[in-house]
Amino acid sequence: MNEFDTSFQVDATLIAEMIVFGIVLVLMSKVILPPFRKAMAERQAQIERSIAATAEAEERLAAADAEYERHVDDAHRQARKILGVYEDIGRQVLSEARERAGAARPSGGDYGADPLKVKVHDSGGE
């Protein structure tokens, strides 16, 4: 049968092997792994900063949305107010115009129910 290398004897090689593995272990823990840990910690910090920035941006977005809604509501309110004022003015102008038209209407003529309408009709006819 072919020979293959194996050893059942424990001798001084054991100590040498422990030293060799000990050197690997020390280099692994003191030199090789720290850069990985540092990079992982930095990345973790970056991720946490990004999450915090995202949360802050979401808060600012919510505040901006609320501000926008408030401005839109204000604008609607002001628009309704202005519209109300000018509707009153319009009604007042119309009422005055009707009064003036009623006063200026010649007596005896049949000009219909709306004097303003008649007047407009008349002026268009000329």
Partner: protein, 224 residues
Amino acid sequence: MNGTLSASMLAAAIVVIVGLWASRRVTAGVPGRLQLTWETVICMVERRLGPEAAGTAAVPLALSLFGFLAAANTLRVVPGTSRWLPNPAADLNVTVALAAMTVLLVHGASIRRWGFAGYLRRYLQPYWWLAPLNLLEEAVRPLVLALRLFGSAFAGGLMIALVADLVPPPVAPLAHALWAVFDLAVGYMQAFIFALLALLYYEAAVSSREQSLPAMQTGTGSNS
């Protein structure tokens, strides 16, 4: 210097060189494949042992054991090296040395974690009269670690010799190659098992008995 020691030193050098090469290319940005592999293993070990394992010897121990054994396992299938670089795991000196280093670190971690008195007190748990069994368990652990790896490597070498002798010469190279591939996979598996067992022993040494032996504590009441 004997062949085993040469092979061990070469495997150790490979682990250190690969580790240094990888650590010099580490970036906090997007990691490459090699960095990702290292970080995944580090995270797996730390997640297994909890956040308190971050600064301990558990991660370097597991990585060194797996890296060393995997490198030694790979070396022996490099063509032309089998004559002067025997499989280190097939030498009892190597497996006993790795088991001894593991056990030293595990007991050291246990003493640091619990103090010397607490470390000794753990042998009296869950009952003082179980101390002989606990001591026997501690004595058996390095033997289990060393002999499992040695047995696997020894059997692999023996099978390769048997294949070379028993298989007819025309198909012997093919049979040898097939067995070598299988044996390589077994070697990686044994390296993983060795590192995993070392981690389990480490975890048992630094965690409380309640955490490490939950089944033992179930329904047994308080310990001594």
